[in-house]
Each structure stands twice: as C-alpha cells, then as structure tokens.
Amino acid sequence: MIDLHHLPNPIPDEQLVYFLRRHPISLLGISVGTILILASPWIGYWYLLTFQPALLNDAIVFPFLALGSSAFLLFTWMFLFQNFLDYYLDMWIVTNRRVLNIEQTGLFSRTVSELRMYRIQNVTATITGVLHTILDYGNVEIETAGEKLRFVFEDVPHPNRVAKTILELAEEDRKDHLDTAVEEFALPDKKK
C-alpha cells in the first residue's frame, strides 16, 4: 500500500504538498453504471412479473435466465470495480522536493515515475469545456528542460492553483540545488 507519510525513496526534509486524483465528476459514468447494475435484478424481475409471468414458473427457462443473468451481473460488477480502480489507483503526489506520477492502466499495467522539483522548467494548466470551467478542473502539464519528459495530471481539481504552487516549489528547490540545476540546464558554471 502507498503510505503518504512514508513515500517510496524518501528524501530528507520532504513535505507533502498535494495529493491529487482526477476530479470525482469523472466517476459519474461508473456511478450510473453501478446503480443500474444493482437495480437490474429488480427491474428484470418486475418485467417478467408484469409481461412474462409464465416464464417465472417455467422449470427450464427460468433456471437458464438465472444462470445467465447472475454471471452477467457478477462480471459487470467486477468490470465496474476495475474501472473504479483505474480512477482510484491513478494518483499524483506533489512534495516540496519532487512529483510522483502513479498511473494504473487496466488491471496489470502500472507506471510509477518521479521528477525532482529543481528539474521542472514549465508548468501549464489547461481547462477546456463548460463542465471543466464550472467545476474548476483540468490538466496540469509539467515539462523539464532538455528532455521530452512530460507529466500530465489529468482532470485534477483547481489546476491553476496546482500549477502555480508547483512553479513556486520548483523555484525554491532550484535554489537548494543550484549546482545540479546549472549542470542540467547547461548554463555557464557560476564557479568559473
């Protein structure tokens, strides 16, 4: 399990600033699906009772319906839960020293990447769409110098605030890692 108080590969003086997931509105589809799947046995039973009452007493057909529908419902429930896990296990952790990007794709594909704050050069917040604007959620893109490494926080709440904080933290961390930052950005060494 991931413990926010004991992050992997801890760095001295590290403090948690943000723990981010996609906005809960992205769970709307899964929530509607869950309600439908949990209600469907009762809806199905009501339908048979109203329109096909003979089937309920059929010694052959009804067991078939029960076998098929129970398997369908259980597999659909698991599919919905796995979709929820895709949301739940995707997370972005921002500390004063680094950014952790944890992405779950399907059940067996997981990517954990880390970016040190002083390496961040550009942070962009994007809010596109009516719902995104009303609920204030969108993407935050983090870019580093020199490389094509790019982190994207997808559909996180308050992207502008997050982007501003990350830029400030990067600036602070760069002061603490001036020598390393100078080397990485290929700027003239201040010691020369």
């Binding site: 413990d3 010694a59 052959i60 067991p63 029960a66 129970s70 597999f75 429930w77 944890i102």
Partner: protein
C-alpha cells in the same frame, strides 16, 4: 414421415458450465482485490471500497445459490432438434 434427431442434455450440464465460468470470475475478482490492497492508498477508504466489492459479490453468490438449490437439475433440455427425411 420424419425421423427426429434430438439431443437431450441434463440441466446440470449448464450448471457445470456456470461453475467453470464462476471459477474464472473468482480468480479475476481475487486478482482485482490483491491489486486494490497492494497499490491502494493506505487508509480506511481502500478497505471500505474493497469490502463493498466483496460484499456485493457474496450477496450475488448467496442469492444465486439459494435459488439454484430449489431447482431440479436432473431435468433434461432439448438443445438440438432436426428432422431427417426418411427413404
């Protein structure tokens, strides 16, 4: 005049298929739970969500099992019937 070719299968044959499918389901559900507990955030929510997932599955199995226990599985079903012309 026609000769009937009938294939009669016991209803329990379909229960057996259902059990095989459910064993695959149980395996996948266990893997899902392992992933949730292994990579989820340490805390109450992860346990509650995983417990909710398992409770609904358990209810599904209990409801199915209690109905299936009332079914007479020795009945036979005609799954294939064709009429062959006779000479």
């Amino acid at each position: 005049m026609a000769r009937s070719l009938l294939s009669m299968l016991p209803l329990s044959f379909f229960l057996l298929i259902w059990l095989i499918v459910m064993s695959v389901f149980v395996l996948l559900a266990l893997l899902t739970v392992v992933m949730a507990l292994r990579y989820g955030l340490s805390g109450f929510t992860t346990y509650i969500v995983t417990a909710g997932f398992l409770i609904v599955i358990a209810l599904g199995f209990v409801a199915s099992g209690s109905y299936f226990s009332t079914v007479d599985w020795t009945q036979t079903v005609t799954v294939f019937s064709t009429a062959l012309p006779t000479l």
